[in-house]
Amino acid sequence: MSKTHVTTTINGDAVEYLCEVDQSLLDVLRDTLELTGTKEGCATGDCGACSVSLDGRLVCSCLVLGVEAEGKQIETIEGVANGTELHPIQQKFLENAALQCGICTPGFIVATKALLEKNPDPTEEEARYYLAGNLCRCTGYDKIIRAVLDAAAEMRGAA
């Protein structure tokens, strides 16, 4: 089967790649483009470890085809920090010890960024519901939710 040529933008970089028509965006990111910060936990859209932003919309990249990225803007975990300067969400995850093993962390950070872009001042309940599609098995979510609310406050300048 011949591959399809895709022109897209990832973390602000113009990117071209060839992919098979049945290849997921997750596989393209990880295997073709070597952007392995996006993780696969289930490949069925149930765990959120592969969360990316697609034209500003939070998606599971395992449920998006690589060919669907044509002409789109994609943001992955690799694009969250500004060079070596961490994003406030990343910094708050560290300060709040919001990760143990860290496999779900990229997905949570991408999802949190999407949440705070929509809702800069979420309640605890709103944060919990928005992040319900991201599974973490280590932390019991307590420190993650605290980090999210802490980051929201910091980003609002109210910290």
Binding site: A43, C101, I109, R128, R137, G140
Partner: protein, 749 residues
């Protein structure tokens, strides 16, 4: 309750050394390793839960496009039964081999039968369909008591119950008996006796990272393995044994590990990847998908536990009897023994009899899961303790305080307890505002307690000092929850230098000294001990260097504030660690120190959890609305990661209590093989999980550390069930307390 006044670094909460890479996506996990020319391998799995393999024809697959090699159990040596250590539990290497690739029979749905290496994962998957396997289906047995029946289908014709019939094979692989006193006399003296049977389902550890490995065999016969594991040395030992290789020919490099909870202390893929690399001369990568993880890697045992408990009217336990049956899956080795040893371990009971049974059946072979065997035992015992307290009209914590083990108590499993913190933990729970907070309509509160042994085992550590005075500390202990931060804190405290000067590493099996698995809550305790010992050796070395520089006796040199000082020689200015490091070439060469040990005296851990739930009587849905986990840590090295263990363990226990279970059809095919249906707790299922760190120092550790990782999953099952009992007026004996099951209980009232 935590006091840091004696320490500069221990007990503080710095940012973890591996943190920045984990929040930016740079940290490399198991599936992130790629090598040039790498092949991808996939596994053909059994469509039947129990069948003879009559023949396997791989010829069509071998000649398929892109396929470079096919493998079956015929490619591995035929091992004799031989027990070996595998971290917390023993393993029979023959069973291990037969679990990696089935030999003669398949014993569960999803059992690996063959593997294909091809130029892409897609071609490997396509080639699996070309392998022809002829099966003869056999009757399936899925439930523990069915498997124990006289006429049960037998999984292993060569397995006989020890002490049982030598002619008739049995699915009961092992039995255990722990007696004390005279139970007949004890129950005769009891004023109240309660007897109930409890069941728990098969549940999975549910780590988010599927198993993954990349392996490369060199022309010299030297194998490199990169994988996500809790124990590189156990991967090396198991792979060597299963493939008939020497351990010295295998190097295992750990990736970051995306959750393990005990389950990544064995091997499934590694020997296959090594063998396929040997066959093809190319690196081979294997990554499981979620369905494979759920169908074919070790969950933990289902259990059937019956307990009879007798107490006197003054609130003292006088007799107890327990029958604990654990399903092992396809091969022997359930956590029946630790379950039996834990079940009555928290209480002083003069008369008891515990019997345990390890039962094989047509489900995947179980693997360790956080305090293996203890949560099920505690669900049964703690539920009865709560019911007994009600019957005695005693506060449930007060009832436990009347019977709690303390220093000098003889544990049910034999030894005398040294200093332990169960009483202090119970007192802290009783004093917590949560315990006396008011409850609303349809709400209820429950408590549960938990005990876990914790273990020591072998660890090594090496510290290398850089010429600037910064240091690298190397161990071979996988970091599954922040242990590198603990190692750096130990070094900072001992050397009296800044945490920021320390780089802790988890290295491979050829560069790190031997370390047993990260399991048994042992890493901060035991590997921490090795790090402390290496630090002390390094300080002694640096004092020697300073003494040499000054031309005085080493006994006149002390170490303070990161520098050597000579208190009796006023003319000697302190020599800082950086100065000593810079001049090391002139005083004896590079500064390096190592230590290794077999850690003794892992202090037992005790926890008490308080759970509030609200039950919807219309739907049977239970919401946890408040939760507090209180546990003795001995000494919390990095309190945030201790709290994290309490919170994470509690939530795994809440999932076990309320939602999680393997659902099989009568053919032994798992029906809920994804995260949508295998329903683990998500963020909106839960409240904040409050924690209290009690600190009753463990006298066997230089800083008083007790393991903390496993105990937190022990109390929740009974705490949640009791909260539901009190909210809905039911008596829960079977998990999970899913909405339909609870609704049936409510309707049956």
């Amino acid at each position: 309750m935590s006091t840091n006044k004696d320490y500069k670094w221990i007990g503080t909460r710095p940012i973890r050394p591996d943190g920045a890479d984990k929040v930016t996506g740079r940290a490399a996990f198991g599936a992130d390793k790629n090598l040039p020319g790498m092949l991808h391998a996939k596994i053909l799995r059994s469509p039947f839960a129990h069948a003879k393999i009559l023949s396997i024809d791989t010829s069509a697959a071998e000649s398929a496009s892109g396929v470079l090699a096919v493998m079956t159990s015929a490619d591995m040596p035929d091992l004799a039964s031989e027990m070996g250590e595998a971290g917390e539990s023993a393993v029979d290497f023959r069973d291990l081999s037969h679990n990696i690739l089935a030999s003669g029979k398949v014993l569960y749905h999803g059992h690996a039968v063959a593997a294909v290496a091809a130029t892409s994962a897609k071609l490997a998957l396509a080639a699996l369909k070309l392998i022809k396997v002829e099966y003869e289906e056999l009757p399936v047995v899925l439930e523990i008591e069915d498997a124990m029946a006289d006429d049960a289908p037998i999984l292993h014709e060569d397995q006989f119950t020890p002490g049982g019939s030598k002619d008739k094979p049995s699915n009961v692989a092992a039995k255990m008996k722990l007696p004390r006193g005279d139970i007949d006399k004890g129950f005769a003296e009891a004023d109240i006796i309660i007897e109930r049977e409890f069941t728990t389902p098969t549940v999975h550890q549910g780590y988010i990272e599927p198993h993954a490995v990349t392996a490369s065999m060199s022309a010299s016969g030297h194998a490199d393995i990169w994988c996500c594991t809790q124990g590189t040395f156990v991967v090396r030992a198991m792979t060597a044994k299963v493939l008939g290789m020497d351990v010295g020919k295998i190097k295992v490099t750990p990736s970051e590990i995306g959750g393990g909870f005990g389950a990544k202390t064995t091997v499934y893929l590694e020997p296959i990847a090594v063998k396929l690399s040997e066959k093809t001369g190319r690196p081979v990568k294997m990554v499981m998908d979620r369905e494979e993880v759920l169908r074919a890697t070790g969950p933990t045992s289902a259990s059937v536990i019956k307990i009879k408990l007798g107490a006197t009217n003054d609130g003292k336990l006088i007799a107890a009897q327990g029958s604990l049956k654990y399903g092992a899956g396809a091969f022997k080795g359930s956590p029946m023994a630790p379950g039996c040893m834990c079940v009555f371990a928290s209480y002083e009971i003069p008369n008891f009899l515990i019997r345990g049974f390890d039962v094989v059946l047509n489900k995947p072979k179980v693997a360790a899961y956080r305090a293996p065997g203890a949560p099920m035992a505690a669900f049964a015992m703690e539920s009865l303790m709560n019911e007994m307290a009600t019957k005695l009209n005693l506060d449930p914590i007060e009832f436990r305080l009347k019977n709690a083990v303390k220093e000098g108590s003889v544990a049910a499993y034999g030894p005398k307890f040294p200093v332990i913190g169960f009483v202090e933990t119970l007192e802290a729970a009783k004093a917590h505002p949560h315990y006396s907070a008011p409850l609303g309509k349809n709400q209820g509160r429950g408590v549960g307690t938990g005990f876990w042994f914790n273990i020591g085992m072998q660890s090594s550590a090496t510290i290398n000092v850089n010429e600037s005075g910064s240091v690298t500390v190397i161990t071979g202990s996988a970091d599954i929850g922040g242990s590198r931060a603990s190692m750096a804190l130990f070094v900072a405290e001992e050397l009296d230098i800044s945490y920021d000067l320390i780089t802790p590493l988890v290295s491979n099996t050829e560069e790190a000294g031997y370390c047993d698995v990260t399991g048994g809550s042992r890493t901060t305790f035991a590997t921490g001990m090795a790090v402390v010992k290496a630090s002390k050796n390094l300080v002694a070395n640096m004092r020697k260097r300073a003494a040499k520089t000054w031309g005085i006796d080493i006994d006149d040199v002390t170490w303070e504030d990161g520098a050597a000082i000579a208190p009796a020689a006023a003319d000697k200015q302190p020599l800082t660690m950086a100065q000593i490091a810079t001049s090391a070439a002139k005083t004896g060469g590079p500064l390096t120190a190592s230590a290794s040990l077999t850690a003794q005296g892992a202090g037992a851990g005790f926890g008490v959890h308080i759970c509030d739930v609200e039950v919807d009587p219309e739907t049977g849905k239970t919401d946890v609305i408040r939760y507090t986990a209180i546990q003795d840590a001995g000494k919390a090295i990095h309190p945030s990661y201790v709290e994290g263990q309490y919170q994470g363990g509690a939530v795994q226990g809440i999932g076990w209590a309320l939602n999680e279970e393997y659902v099989y059809n009568d053919k032994g095919v798992l029906q809920n093989f994804g995260f949508l249906d295998y329903r683990m707790p998500v963020a909106n299922d839960l409240p904040m999980i409050d924690t209290v760190i009690v600190e009753v120092p463990n006298p066997s550790h230089p800083y008083g550390v007790r393991g903390v990782g496993e105990t937190p999953i022990v109390p929740p099952l009974a705490a949640v069930a009791e909260a539901v009992n009190n909210a809905a007026g039911v008596r829960i004996c079977h998990l999970p307390i899913s909405p339909p099951r609870l609704l049936a209980e409510i309707d049956a009232k």
